[in-house]
């Protein structure tokens, strides 16, 4: 494990995994903050979901992604999902968190798919895989 973490190389686009091993999303962007008087910015949060990915993709596709994602959200809510960097416990091939998926609300599309499709199929709400 490298002691120095390169934000671009070691964080961006990496898989985020919650405390129970469930897949939360990718590090679609990072929130950086330059504290007053500090020399360099500090990563304060991982940003996930289409609201973070869209602007990073750029172009027409990025705009489309953002506007599609907006339809699943309450009016006026355009902030990407934010996971404070304090919740990160391990940076490896994936980024492990100390919180669970429920505490990181990345799952609007998942919820939509579950409500509109999966739970309506026979056996869609069963427990075992």
């Amino acid at each position: 494990m490298a002691s120095v973490i390169d934000a671009h190389l070691h964080l961006l686009d990496r898989q985020i995994v919650d405390r129970d091993g469930r897949l939360i999303g990718k590090v679609d962007d990072l929130e950086l903050e330059l504290a007053p008087g500090a020399d360099y910015p500090v990563v304060t949060a991982l940003l996930c979901g289409p609201m973070a990915l869209g602007p990073r993709l750029g172009g027409r596709l990025g705009v489309w992604l953002v506007s599609a994602a907006r339809r699943l959200r309450p009016r006026g809510d355009t902030d990407p999902v934010r996971i404070g960097f304090g919740a990160v416990t391990e940076v490896g091939p994936s980024i492990k968190l100390s919180i669970t998926v429920e505490q990181a609300p990345t799952l609007r599309l998942e919820q939509w798919c579950l409500e509109k499709v999966i739970s309506r199929l026979p056996g869609g709400t069963r427990e075992a895989g």
């Binding site: 898989q15 939360i24 993709l57 490896g92 994936s94 998942e110 999966i118 739970s119």
Partner: protein, 409 residues
Amino acid sequence: MKKMLQVTLGILTAIGGFVDIGDLVANALTGARFGMSLAWVVLVGVFGIILFAEMSGRVGAITGRPVFDLVRERLGVRAGLANLFASFFINFLTVIAEIGGVALALELATSVNYLLWVPIVAVLLWVTIWKIKFESMERLYGLMGLCLLVFAVALWKLGPDWGSLWGDASNPTVPRGEGHPTWIYYAIALFGAAMTPYEVFFFSSGAVEERWTKKDLMLNRANVYIGFPLGAFLSLAIMACSASVLRPRGISVDTLSQVALPVSVALGKLGLAVVLIGFFAATFGAAIETLMSSGYTVAQYFGWQWGKYVAPKQAARFHVVMLVTLLLATMVTLTTIDPVKVTEYSIVLSAAALPLTYLPILVVANDREFMGDKKNSRVTNFFASIYLVIIMVVAVITIPLMLATKAGA
């Protein structure tokens, strides 16, 4: 015994992945048209898929991350997304081809038009993916696919001129009356059929589905070293059957029924029944693999929960992607588009897109930080670099060659 059964991941990937509708058609077609003069391509292809499937399984076992998860991280968001579009499209064509293949196999057995089978096949596929456990699935279709060994039995029963088959294979020359471009075009088709990218998407995701760890690296090797050579053996048997029965009669293969003709000649009704079961199992297994690969690639790019190791309600997006893919593919198949033609294009386009999949695997398998002491050995890298050159050349010449030869006409 448990270990024995675990090798079925390799067998399923091999039967349903190496030998799928693409290989059935490509091997029979080239055997009928070029004899054994393209047999070497099967060997080159199988060696390549062994090399890269082993790498992808090892990466999956050590890092817990399957191939497409790493594609985005290594290529960046934009190039990763372009890769996703290309891979998804080619995979989608393959889903269409496999669904058509299952329906054609059922038509051969029942004489009921394949279009009537397509919706039933789609429902069966969904029920299988939805209900049956990953391990049971691969065991069922992997073992049923072994029926294709009947091609080897048929070949032996036909008692061909082994010397001339071997002569053709070991000293490959372009048969008289065929142009070099066409011959190379079909070589590329065979290569694409052997190295179809979904095989590694599925294999590496399967390694994560079965929760492989460092301890399972031997299992990974066993799967790869048994499964894929078995697939190559079947491919060569199909090619040789075609070369011995169809080629002397001037029959060119454009339907699945013709692929089965040599078995019927050699072994009669029983052999025919077995080969049709084999067709069904191989194409159905491949349909499952390609469908799941469509879910794997999309979910792994976006970081969504995927897999059959969690309940469907925990991987809702993954299941929706598969369901939508299945519905669209079924609709396209129902347009009466010729599944055999779709197969031919899908394997050639696969060949053109190979670097998109295999380059990121090679890069990650060499990452010391991810892989520790399990990173690629020098020998592996030596061969992998050779394949990388081959893959690049193939990718560059495929589309121009397709245009120049009118797709091998």
